[in-house]
Symmetry: none
Subunit: 418 residues, 2 copies
């Protein structure tokens, strides 16, 4: 089976100037990968004739499928259509069907057809006209020398509709595509190199048809297993076999699979145990509560929270002893313990989660530099704590503390702390 290779070309000065984020290329990458087409390159060029023609020529040398977005509007700086005609050596002519579609599009919206929009119904004679039901610039499909080309408008919802209705089905129908199965193991609380160290023997004994990739992000590392073969169920079984082998080595770091986030995983564990949580956030200033409540349905297990940003409110709202604050300070183990316990009681929750620290950039001193942060998780039975020594960066400290706190709760829920 021949591997089908695709290249994505995005056209537009506004992309190169950083005025618009190119979400199209990312989405197309995902969709092609899902159907077993290998994306080998993404190229972004500006509205210059030479760069666009060069990109076409280079892409044709390496790809079987070339998907082009952008440069199709009615205005002067849109070059894609004339350049496609010139690249394929054909004329541009009116396609009556396309004109009818543009006319209907405008009629439905109670607007008049402008001459500029009429021009959008003129297409290279070598292309197959692909109707765009949600916009005015049609799709153009070419097949030349065994390569398939599709040109689409850059407006994301128009591109997506053309991809889903026409391009993806057409590619699937015309190629004998390999079967691919992906599964992502999501870990937290361990760095990439330590993880790699723990699983190096497993990794080196992976079968040929299964590839492993490390995808680190803030405080987390994803392990992506990709299996290539002939039979989907078989690949799935092969990947599951490998996951079962690696699990014992790193089980305590695994919080979920595929797209599940840490806050979703913690929510799932809380729901399964029929438990509720409340939050007392000082240095994280509401960020942990935000993560928890960003999950639909979180009202099932999130009771509420208190953000006692100043010490007086740690005392008035969370009964932290003024003597503790005076002697050990707000950034101390007894303070987070008191906060976690009191917020749990106050919200009639099963778990209280608390943070207190110096997020920075100001406020640190020798004994407690910026990045010194205490977290605590209180249950009805006991309260566990952790001291973090993080970075100089305020946002990073807030985010890393949130991940560590959610992970602490996850560890309690999965009984790793006993």
């Amino acid at each position: 089976m021949k591997q089908i290779k695709a290249e994505i070309i995005a056209i537009g000065d506004e992309l190169l100037y950083g005025q618009i984020v190119d979400t199209n290329s990312h989405w197309i990458s995902q969709e092609l990968t899902k159907i077993g087409v290998r994306v080998i390159q993404r190229t972004t060029v500006g509205d210059q004739k030479e760069s666009i023609l060069k990109a076409f020529g280079e892409a044709e040398k390496r790809a079987d499928v070339i998907l082009i977005t952008g440069g199709l509007g009615p205005t002067n700086d849109d070059l894609t259509k004339p350049l496609l005609a010139s690249y394929f050596g054909c004329d541009i002519a009116l396609v009556p069907e396309a004109l009818e579609a543009v006319r209907t599009f405008f009629e439905k919206r109670g607007r008049e057809l402008t001459p500029l929009n009429e021009l959008q119904a003129h297409l290279p004679t070598k292309c197959t006209y692909v109707p765009n039901e949600v916009g005015t610039a049609p799709g153009m499909w070419f097949e030349e020398n065994g390569t398939q080309w599709m040109s689409m408008p850059g407006v994301p919802h128009e591109m997506k509709k053309l991809m889903e209705d026409f391009v993806l089905p057409r590619i699937k129908a015309s190629h004998d595509l390999p079967i691919i199965y992906h599964k992502v193991i999501k870990t937290v609380g361990i760095g990439e190199s330590w993880l790699a160290d723990l699983i190096k023997n497993w990794e080196s004994s992976l079968p040929e048809h299964i590839k492993l990739a490390y995808l680190p992000s803030l405080g987390q590392v994803k392990l992506r297993l990709t299996a290539f073969g002939e039979d989907y169920d078989e690949l799935q079984a092969d990947v599951e076999t490998q996951i079962n082998l690696v699990k014992p080595l790193i089980n305590k770091y695994i919080f979920g699979y595929n797209t599940e986030t840490l806050e979703e995983a913690v929510g799932r564990l809380l729901k399964q145990a029929n438990k509720k949580v409340a939050l007392a956030e000082s240095c994280t200033g509401g960020y942990i509560s935000h993560l928890v409540t960003s999950v639909p349905g979180s009202s099932k297990y999130f009771q509420g929270g208190i953000i006692p940003y100043h010490n007086e409110f740690k005392t008035s709202l969370l009964s932290v002893d003024t003597e503790v604050l005076k002697n050990q300070g707000a950034v101390s183990e007894p303070t987070v313990i008191a906060m976690a316990e009191e917020v749990r009681k106050k919200f009639n929750a099963d778990f209280g989660l608390a943070s207190s620290g110096i997020a920075g950039p100001g406020g640190g001193w020798k004994e407690k530099p910026v990045g010194t942060i205490w977290i605590a998780c209180s249950s009805r039975e006991k309260t566990i704590t952790k001291k973090l020594q993080l970075t100089q960066d305020r946002m990073l400290n807030i985010q890393l503390t949130a991940i560590a706190a959610l992970n602490l709760l996850r560890q309690v829920l999965t009984k790793q702390t006993e």
Copy 2:
């Protein structure tokens, strides 16, 4: 003056598989554009030797500056470093200074250096070692045949720090770049087309050398003025003249300039007035507090907050009348008024800001569909409210509510509500 051309190369299968969004290329595009470097192409390739080397070769043919991100981690699938050495025909050798930096990085975090991490201090002999203060993979700077190359890790905050501390200053110092002056006017509370309508006469009378761009983002629109010329001070004066002309037309929507965020602008206004705020967040679940506290120094004006996610806590913690909750519901004007007033008093603040609504996707009904949200801002003198009718999307509703609430407080602080 020669135009300096740049190409951005992003490396990683995870990008082509669509598993990670490439935010780096977009950010780099923006920063290079700001200093007058023209980005002519962005190329994304996978972890394949041949594709990477081909991309290097093609880029060298057209660009003066080549910025590479990704493929620098300690694990096996990272290829960039050996390929750079092979491309430039040099060895890889230990850089003691780099080893010291990696060792310090780990020591500070109380972790042991692994052999994999030690390898990160081995660099191509032709490169200039660029210390990465926030990560373990160093930057590598090459100058060959008049072309400047920089290889950076793909982790965004590491890449950004290397760009800001080293790459951008270095490019500026080594080329005769055109003079460009940018200023961004930041607006909130008005859509792009309404804004365009208010300023259309001003826009059409802008001088030739000043360009205007509309940059819409969630709930906000930025107006970027870019002036091109010979003399920086003159350009700055020209842009200020234009801003003074447009200001009277849209003054009440302007919250700040350039990079100031809405939460920073609100913080600045609070500090100027020597006032303090407290938050009572139901449907926003801590997100507004998070935005406020993401600003360094926010402890000067943020007292704290309460997140009474369930109705019982709106009563027990914020004294919302149970009769009000029963008759008018949690998503109602009297509820947010009571929340805003009580949180202001409880935290001894000058302003109380409150939200209560149906973020979705569940929980809506005919009279109060998903997206129905009340916000309130209470001062010592009065309490003002606003009803929002937002979207079906939970995260969007949370974000748009936060922007509307901060804008409400901004309007109170700038006395637009009197």
